[in-house]
Symmetry: C2
Subunit: 201 residues, 2 copies
DNA sequence: TTTAGGATGTATGCACCATTTACATTTGAC
DNA sequence: GTCAAATGTAAATGGTGCATACATCCTAAA
């Protein structure tokens, strides 16, 4: 089981993932090079290629991990959201996650997504379904749950990016949270009207 | 005025900008290297450094150009938006711009923004003010124009990114436009309630 | 009109990077 | 125990950003 020499690492795949994640958080996307990952894992420069086809594959793996963490983070904000207040709390958590892990969040959403990374596709599908579930629970009367979920996700996602890009004041967590809550409540208030708005077109 | 030899380019600054823009649209952010720009401009590899301090400065310049084009694109969608319908048309134009110029849009919003690029800061401030102006005209009764403008921008911005990242169906321009309109109308319907929602917290 | 000097472009070199290919070591199944 | 597959290494190729020193050209002052 355990290697008795130093030739084999033991679990290089996981070590690379961890190193990549660390480098991403420390130096941003530019600091995440396969060579740096290899150095940090204490292994030759090309060893990571045994576990990841190329740089993008490694980034995708980190992103997928990010999706799982985001889902966890949201669930922690509120286990079973069922009211507009709950949903607002989840929205705040979403934006906070982006601000606390800017490089990771960018890797998850801001880079051209590789459609062939099933790990990544599955992870984003899970997030999407999660949002849909929340909306369904919080607004059982709404017919087109998907449309409302999309709108909510887009609003929160856009808020995250605008904050991340310095387009909105992020001096304190409170001002951010207040702004997110205000925006989400604006949308919630109209939820019943959404179906009509769509039908009216 | 005009150079009589081949040593000097004439307007290398503009040529670099154009080449960078082309490379960005052709091969994405990864294809935008200073060396490739120099090659395309028919000039030595380090010549661009006479006009741009580093790669990021060039990207910022391209992004700033993108902001101006986006503003123009939106203005074309509707010169003086003053109704929810007008605003929805502008929102659709925003998302369409992102889908038509994915790499440029990412360069504008998805990369860590350099706060020292005044060209870029000024350009984004202009966009922000533009959105605020539209909201002010379209909803003269709303007190906190800034809050509503932020919400609108975030929603549209988030829709652009989710489409860009393949999280939403983009098979035809129509399905995209319909979804954007539906989301924006949902928000519009509640505009008068926004102030209350904020006050209620 | 001549002639510095600044602006612009070039040549070279360094450090870093991704990726490929060939080779070495270890491990586990038989 | 043997041998093939899995894992790690070494070396080489070709690309990149960028700093430094050098070449050329334009312009404005003398």
């Amino acid at each position: 089981m355990a290697q008795n020499s130093t030739y084999h690492h033991g679990d290089l795949r996981a070590a690379c993932l961890r190193a990549a994640r660390e480098l991403l958080e420390e130096d941003g996307s530019a600091g995440l090079s396969l060579r740096a990952v290899a150095r940090r894992a204490g292994v030759s420069a090309t060893a990571p290629y045994r576990h990841y086809a190329d740089r993008e594959a490694l980034v995708s793996a980190v992103a997928a991990e990010g999706y799982r963490e985001l889902a966890e983070h949201l669930a922690t904000a509120h286990p079973v959201p069922s009211t507009p207040d709950d949903l607002a709390a989840v929205a705040v958590a979403y934006v906070r996650f982006a601000l606390e892990h800017p490089a990771l969040f960018r890797a998850m959403f801001a880079e051209p997504c590789d459609p062939t990374s099933e790990e990544r596709v599955a992870a984003t599908a899970a997030i999407s379904e999660y949002v849909r579930g929340i909306v369904r629970d919080a607004f059982p009367g709404v017919e087109d749950t998907d449309a409302l979920a999309t709108t909510v996700w887009a609003l929160v996602h856009g808020l995250a990016f605008l904050h991340l890009d310095g387009k909105l004041d992020t001096s304190t967590p409170e001002v951010v949270a207040d702004r997110v809550r205000a925006s989400v409540f604006a949308l919630f208030a109209v939820a019943p009207a959404l179906r009509e708005a769509i039908a009216a077109r």
